[in-house]
Symmetry: C2
C-alpha cells in the first residue's frame, strides 16, 4: 500500500516446508481419525500441547545419538526465556506428566497427533515439519503396558488399511542388549562409545549383512565409496556374542527366547530382559496376537538413547519399487519403547513410561503405494452461469443441492466464456455440470451434463457402447436434486 | 543422565501457552469436523500450509490497525532468511495463491483450520497460540462470492449447534464507509489518521453508545478511569453524517438500503457499495437466507485495514453471565470480508478475494455456555487386577471388549491396593469396573460393578428407589461383552 515500489516478496515457503492440498489433507485426516478411534477404544485420552515450549523444558538437543547435529527451531524472548518449536510429542508429554502429576490419573494413557519441527538440512522427501501420532502410558512399570501398545499398534495398522500379513510388529528389549554387552565385556561407563558403535552396527544388519556388521564390530568398515567407518574394536569372541544375539531369531517366539536366555545366562539384567520379553509374548498370545502379527526380534535397536526396556517397531513387509525400479521392502512405519528417565528430568522421581510414535507421512505413502487410501475426493457439481443477471437463480440451485447434502458450487469467475466454465469444472473433477440458458429458464428446465461419462466417451475409440447412454439430460427445474442424485448413482 | 546435578527444568509451558486435555481436544475436533463438512459441501477444498513462513512472505507486521504493537514469533536462519510462525491463515493463502496461480482452479475456494501464533502479551483467556478456521474464495470479484460465504457461515453456525435465532450474520461494505467519509469531507491521503479514529469509534458503538462515539468523532473522550482518547476532530455536521450512517439500520434490509443510498448520494464509491449490499441481500433472499439470519448492518467495521469491499461478522445474540454475574451479549464469533490487495503484494496483479475466519475457541466457549457441546467423553470400562499373575486373563477381557468396539482398559498401576483401582476408575469416569478374583476365576465368572449407578446410590438419601437395581452383577466370563453392553444400555 506504500507508494514507492519495494521489491516483491517471493511467493514460496521456507526451504524444507511444503503445502498440502485437497486430498493430501483429507487422506491424512482420515488416517489420523481412524487411528484415534483405536487409541480411544484402548482407553487413551487425547492431549494437545502447544507447538512452542521453553528450550529448558524440551532439553537443548534431540536425544538421538545417531543424529547429534539435528537441531530445533529456537529463539529468545525479549530478555527472557529461549523458546523452541517441539521436535517430537514425547518431550512435551514428559513436561505435562511432571506439571500435572497430582491431577492426572495414574497410570496416564494419552495420545497426541500433530506436527513437529526439525531444524535440519532438508532433502528430497525430507521436510522440516511433519506429523507424528503418538500413544504413551505414563506411570506403569508393568510390561503389560508395553504389550498393550504393541497390540494397539497392530490394530491401528489394520484399521487404516494394512491387512494382516502385510505388517509385523517386532519387539526387543534394551535390557537384553545390555546383558549381551555385559557378556561381551562392554559394560561400564568407559565403554559407552563402543556400545554406541555396536548398537548402530546391529541396526544396520538388514542393509550390511553379517560380514558388514562383523567389520563394524571389529576394526571398522570401508564402504563402496571408500569412506571408512571406525569399528568398536571388539575381538572375535566378543563380536561373536553380538552376532549370535543378532541371529537369535528362531522359528517361533519360544525358540527365540530360549536362544536369548542361553546367550545372556551370565548377566542378571539380560535375564530380566528375556523374562520381560517372555511375559510380553504370553500376554499378547492370550489376546490372540500371535507371531503372524507380533514377533520377538533381536535385530530391533531403535536409535533413541533414552530407551530403558522393551523397544518395538512396526515394519511393513510388502515390497515396493524404489525410484530406480528395484523392489525393496517398505520398512518401518512406527516405533517406540520404554523410557523411564524422561519425567525424572523435571521431578527427580522415577516415572516409568512406554509409548509408540507412528510415522504418519510414511504410513500414508505406504497406503498410497498400495492404492488403499480412502478419502472422499469427489469434486463438486458445478452450476454454470449462462446469464449473469440470473445469478440469484443459479445460487438457488446450488442452495437446493447443498441442502440435500450434495457438494455443489456456482461458477464465480467471469462467465463470458462458457468454455472456461467447462474447463473449470474439469479442473475441479466435477461429476456434473448444470446448465440453464434463457430458453431453459423460460421453460422451467435445467440441463445436466454428465462429465464423467462425457470424459469416457471422449476417450473411447468407438461410440457404440455409449450410444444408449446420454451424457446430457434435460429435466424440470423442480427435479434438479433428484436428477443429480440419479446421475451420481446415489 | 549427567552425573552432576544440574538445576531441574521448570515443568510448565511458556507464558501465554496452554495444554488441552481429553474432552477439550475432542470437542474442538468435533466442531471443526462439522464445519469442514459444511465447507466441503460448498465446494471448498482443504489447504494445509506449514506453521512457518518467511517473514518476507508474511509481511513484517500484522495488518491490524487496532493493535499495531502485536508481533509475530520470528527468528533468523543461519545467515539466511528470517522465518516466523504464521499469525493468521490469510497471509499463507495469499502466498499459495500467488505461488500456484497457474495450477489452481480459478476461482479457488479453499478452507484451512489450524493454530496461529501471536507474540503479544498474554492475559486471562488470551493465549499466544489459538485456532482459526477459515474459508476464502480467491479470484472472484463477484459479490456472489461474498454472499456465498455469508450463507456458509450461517450454515456452519447451525451445524455446530447454534440454532437459528441465536445468531445473526451482519453485513456491511467498506465502500459505503468510504462514501460516508467522502460525504463527511474525510477523503484523501492526508486524512488517513482521522479515518482510522472514525472507524474505531464506529466499532465501539455497542459499548460506548451514541454520546461516546460523538465525543470520539469530535475532540475526544475521557473514560471512567480518567484516560483521554484523542478524537477525530470532526465538526458537528461531519459527525452527524457518521452518526446517521451508524444509525441507518431500518426494520428490514430494504429500509436500510434506502437510508444508506440517501446518505451517500454524493459519493460514487458509496453508491457502488450500497448497490453491492443490495445485490448480496437479494442473492441471499433467493436462497432463503432472510433477515432472521443475515442482515445489513452499518455498524460493522472489522478492524483489519486490508478490507476493500463487503465485510461481515457473525454475532451470537443470546446472553451469558459474565464473571461479575452481569448478563451480557456473547458477541462476535466470526468475521471477514473482501480484500483485493493481498495477492498483489507478490504478483503485482490485482486478485480479488473474500473470506471468513471463525474464532474457534470463542465459538467453543459459546457452545459450552449453552451446554450444547457434543463430544463423546465417556470413560472406559476398567478391568481391575485382583491377581497379578493372571494379567493375561485380564488383558484377554479388555481384548474382547475392544474387539466389540467397547472402550476398555486394564488397570496398569500397582494392583496391591484395590481401593486405588476403584479410585482410578472414578478418576477415569469409568461406567463399569470388572472384577475377577480367584473364586470367580475358579467358577468361570466375572463381577460387573455399575459405577454410575453406584455413584447415584451413594448420593441418594434413601436407598429405597435403588433397592431393586443391583449396582453389581455376576455373570459367566463368556457373557462378559453382552453383560457390559446391557449395563451400558447399548
Amino acid at each position: 500500500m506504500a507508494n514507492d515500489k519495494p521489491r516483491r516478496p517471493r511467493a514460496e515457503p521456507p526451504k524444507g516446508f511444503r503445502d498440502y492440498f485437497g486430498a493430501e489433507v483429507t487422506e491424512r485426516k482420515a488416517m489420523l481419525d481412524a487411528i484415534a478411534g483405536v487409541y480411544h477404544r484402548y482407553g487413551f485420552d487425547p492431549l494437545e500441547t502447544s507447538a512452542v515450549e521453553t528450550v529448558e523444558a524440551l532439553g537443548k538437543f534431540l536425544p538421538d545419538v545417531d543424529r547429534p547435529n539435528e537441531g530445533v527451531f529456537a529463539w529468545q524472548e525479549d530478555e527472557a526465556d529461549w523458546l523452541a518449536l517441539r521436535y517430537d510429542l514425547t518431550a512435551p508429554l514428559a513436561r505435562v506428566a511432571a506439571q500435572y502429576r497430582n491431577d492426572l490419573p495414574s497410570p496416564y494413557r494419552r495420545y497426541a497427533m500433530g506436527p513437529v519441527w526439525r531444524n535440519e538440512k532438508p532433502g528430497p522427501g525430507r521436510f522440516r515439519q511433519f506429523y507424528q501420532c503418538d500413544a504413551d502410558t505414563v506411570g506403569s512399570g508393568s510390561v503389560a503396558a508395553d504389550a498393550e501398545i504393541c497390540a494397539m499398534l497392530a490394530d491401528a495398522l489394520e484399521v487404516v488399511g494394512i491387512p494382516r500379513g502385510d505388517y509385523v510388529v517386532k519387539v526387543n528389549n534394551r535390557k537384553v542388549l545390555n546383558g549381551v554387552m555385559e557378556v561381551a565385556g562392554l559394560a561400564g561407563d568407559d565403554k559407552e562409545a563402543e556400545r554406541g558403535i555396536v548398537l548402530r552396527a546391529i541396526d544396520k544388519i538388514d542393509r550390511l549383512g553379517p560380514d558388514g556388521v562383523r567389520a563394524l564390530l571389529g576394526e571398522g568398515r570401508k564402504d563402496e565409496s571408500g569412506d571408512f567407518t571406525k569399528g568398536a574394536g571388539l575381538n572375535d569372541a566378543q563380536a561373536q556374542v553380538v552376532l549370535d544375539f543378532v541371529h537369535a531369531t528362531a522359528a517361533d517366539n519360544e525358540g527365540t527366547i530360549l536362544k536369548l536366555m542361553a546367550l545372556v545366562s551370565g548377566s542378571e539384567i539380560g535375564q530380566q530382559g528375556v523374562h520381560e520379553l517372555q511375559e510380553i509374548a504370553s500376554l499378547l498370545a492370550a489376546q490372540g496376537y500371535g507371531p503372524d502379527r507380533i514377533v520377538i526380534d533381536p535385530g530391533v535397536v531403535r536409535g533413541l538413547g533414552y530407551y530403558t526396556g522393551p523397544v518395538y517397531e512396526a515394519e511393513l513387509t510388502f515390497q515396493i519399487t524404489d525410484e530406480k525400479g528395484r523392489p525393496r521392502n517398505f520398512g518401518s512405519v512406527a516405533g517406540g519403547g520404554r523410557y523411564d528417565g524422561l519425567v525424572k528430568r523435571f521431578t527427580g522421581q522415577d516415572v516409568p513410561a512406554t509409548g509408540v510414535s507412528i510415522g504418519v507421512d510414511r504410513l500414508l505413502a505406504a497406503l498410497q503405494a498400495k492404492g488403499r487410501s480412502r478419502a472422499d475426493t469427489a469434486g463438486p457439481v458445478v452450476v454454470t452461469v449462462m446469464d449473469r443477471d440470473r445469478m440469484a437463480d443459479y445460487m438457488a440451485m446450488v442452495g437446493d443441492l447443498r441442502q440435500a447434502g450434495i457438494r455443489a458450487e456456482v461458477y464465480l469467475g467471469n462467465p463470458k466464456n462458457f468454455g472456461n466454465q467447462l474447463k473449470y469444472a474439469d479442473k475441479r473433477q466435477s461429476p456434473i455440470a448444470i446448465i440453464q440458458g434463457g430458453n431453459e429458464a423460460a421453460e422451467g428446465k435445467v440441463i445436466l451434463k454428465d462429465l464423467i461419462l462425457g470424459a469416457k466417451i471422449a476417450e473411447s475409440a468407438t461410440l457404440e457402447e455409449w450410444k444408449d447412454r446420454p451424457a446430457q439430460v434435460e429435466v424440470p427445474r423442480a427435479d434438479l436434486v433428484a436428477a443429480v442424485r440419479k446421475m451420481l448413482g446415489q
